[in-house]
Subunit: 426 residues, 2 copies
């Protein structure tokens, strides 16, 4: 099969691309083509300076005074509202805090409490078998806690795993309390239709939680437009917040003043500095916070967020689709007959911004790619995953990455012993 | 009343003090006497460089590879074991992760699960009315979750607040599941006898959780020596980890492989990168982790920890007692007749490393002190709180701070309007 593009033609298109100016905003190493921004985004210029400011000036000189004078205390909400502009959120619906797993626990617990009050027979949490595992583990942990500490035998809380839209629609029923899905699948890149699925769940009486880890900053999201109930996600992937930067939680305002979420630390209290003897929750998204946040890691998020807000999300999405299409086409033409099987849906509406191919020797091939400077990652089972981030990737980057993949496959270079030892890769 | 010391005599003692060398390890601002290291510790030299290394080299150049190559993934356990040396912990019993509030939730949930299995009638969590409020709120949140999602009426989980050792001993009984205390009280500085109280709780069949927020790095702690069950605490006070640096959890090895803790994110899984469909907990302290940690804030903790490990904890404690005694004596002699009332116990064995005085106009007096560069903090109701950190405070610092307090009280300077506006002070 013949490739329809040439590198020269792609270079010409790159030169005219309005998103091109963003590439200079990131400090990427020479000799690396970075296709793992869906796991850890690149370092934006300004983040190191922000960290230095927090540590040297705000901590070192301001000391405790910086909680007020440098605005540390308000950072989760100030940054949350900035992020909320990318997600279709209203002000005070989004906080940047804790981790995605923890925020999912808060959302699930809040949703179960609401259902227990409104429709107590609803005791099933539905999620995906192919969800990022922590989402399943957190749902299992919550169900296990409540079931094991309950006093009587009765219908226990249960986590049901679905495999596709048909089994999802079949599973939604009178016993469903909450549906928790990842908008974009971490492994395959497939994407749910947020509007349709939210409506279907609501029709069945369920509340809906969206995990936006692989969606925020990657695809357009409109949480209020979809009438979603809760959303969680992370800031260190497409939002370029830095390694392990705190996650976010969005809660539809209609759920703000109903029930406690049980991780009810003092930052969720209505008046945290009154040091009151009993708990009174705040009546906005602060209710979904817990304790003191890691300020240096938190403050750096603003640098990546400001870049994301400066870029037009529709332009980013259009570029993502063009680059992912190009990547798929080049792999399928230039690397044909090497056993790579596309696992990401081809349909634009059904996928996010990363592309995955399955190969029996996926681990070794990825190790060989990384050794050549093409950094993607590997996910069990057998999946090579390539994140496409239009803010710092060009068409020629995609071309060059596929050329290196082609060489590795043609030469069989991936069979070298150094590529077969397995390490943890996040 | 006559002060027995002079500034000259104190300066001579300072000059001979073996801990004096540590003061140069911290970057404190000129013209500040910092008496709030019990709220946010000072910036150690090397922390800014460590942050820059994480951001510029490890994130910027290493990108995703740094999870393995820069050891990010192991940081919670590597730093946890370092900290554990200060706490009487065995290896793999301590992790630095999440926040104190969240770690308390994990410990409480694990303790309730254990009691539910071994002694199901035990449904009471005992804690202190004067505990740091988040500890009460978290216990209330957990009890509320379980009670509200339980299906039947029955004996609910309950949080009981005690006021002193007598009411604590009276409260311990057949219904007690867990006792959760702060080793050193955040407001008064009073300290429980960890050995005696742990033994009393065990005699009553209860499990014991110690919150070491105001103890770790401040007073000698031996968790295994006391046979404690769980401990939590923070790293940004006496351990100088940086603003909001992740907290710690210690779990006695006998509880590692019993039950889930419900915040069961993928970092607590036995094989997190297998992406298994169901949860299998790790069998050491990793079971008490949850999700991805804020690497920049986490990595900086090592700088403060290394200093704490280099100092001899017994020498630090001896210096703390000498400096707190001096502070109390100077305030009570040089600031007599101004209505300051000591709320910290005088007995060495009964207090930690901060000293608190109550005054009707405590807020205004503290505001005036801060304006003069003497940084302590204020805690409701009416409490002026002064943290004594021997690694970067000398006898002459204490003398000078009390002199400024004396001037403010003698002149009535605290009555100026600028000191009466209330802001949040953490």
């Amino acid at each position: 099969m013949q490739t329809v593009h040439t590198r020269e033609e792609l270079a010409q298109l790159d030169a005219q691309d309005p998103l091109r100016r963003f590439k200079n905003r990131f400090a990427l190493p020479e000799s690396v083509i970075y296709l793992d921004g869906n796991s850890l985004g690149a370092l934006p210029h300004g983040a190191a300076e922000r960290a230095a400011q927090v540590v040297t000036a705000e901590w070192g000189q301001g000391l405790i005074r910086s909680w007020n004078e440098a605005g540390w205390f308000e950072l989760p909400l100030v940054l949350g509202d900035k992020l909320g502009q990318l997600l279709g959120a209203n002000p005070r619906e989004t906080a940047i805090t804790d981790t995605t797993s923890l925020n999912l626990f808060k959302a699930l617990a809040s949703a179960l409490r609401t259902q227990k009050s409104d429709a107590p027979q609803r005791r099933v949490i539905i999620t995906e078998r192919d969800n990022f595992p922590t989402d399943i583990y957190i749902a299992e942990g919550l169900a296990d806690l409540v079931n094991s500490l309950s006093q009587e035998t009765g219908v226990p809380y249960e986590v049901k795993l679905i495999d596709d839209e048909a089994s999802l629609r079949a599973a939604l029923g009178d016993d469903t309390a909450v549906l928790a899905l990842s908008h974009v699948n971490y492994r395959t890149g497939s994407m749910w239709d947020m509007n349709q699925i939210t409506a279907a769940a609501h029709d069945a009486g369920a509340l809906v939680i969206w995990d936006l880890a692989h969606a925020a900053g990657a695809v357009p999201v409109d949480l209020n437009g979809a009438d979603a109930d809760y959303a969680v996600g992370c800031t260190y992937k497409y939002l370029n917040g830095g390694p392990g930067s705190p996650a976010f939680i969005w809660v539809n305002a209609r759920h703000h003043d109903r029930f406690w979420q049980p991780l009810s630390g003092w930052w969720s209290h209505n008046a945290p500095f009154e040091m009151a003897e009993h708990y009174t929750p705040a009546n906005d998204v602060r209710r979904f916070m817990c304790g003191t946040q890691p300020v240096t890691s938190l403050a750096m998020i603003e640098v990546g967020l400001d870049i994301a807000l400066e870029a037009d999300m529709d332009a980013v999405r259009a570029a993502s689709l063009e680059l992912t299409d190009l990547f798929i086409e080049l792999v399928e033409t230039r690397c044909a007959d090497h056993g790579l099987e596309l696992v990401t849906p081809r349909e634009h509406a059904q996928r996010g911004s990363h592309v995955s191919f399955r190969h029996e020797h996926g681990y070794e091939i990825m190790a060989a790619l990384i050794a050549r400077g093409v950094i993607g990652d590997y996910r069990e089972p057998e999946v090579l995953r390539f994140g496409i981030t239009p803010l710092y990737l060009s068409r020629t980057d995609i071309w060059d990455a596929v050329e290196i993949l082609r060489e590795i496959l043609h030469t069989g270079d991936w069979q070298r012993e150094e590529f077969t030892v397995r390490n943890a890769v996040t």
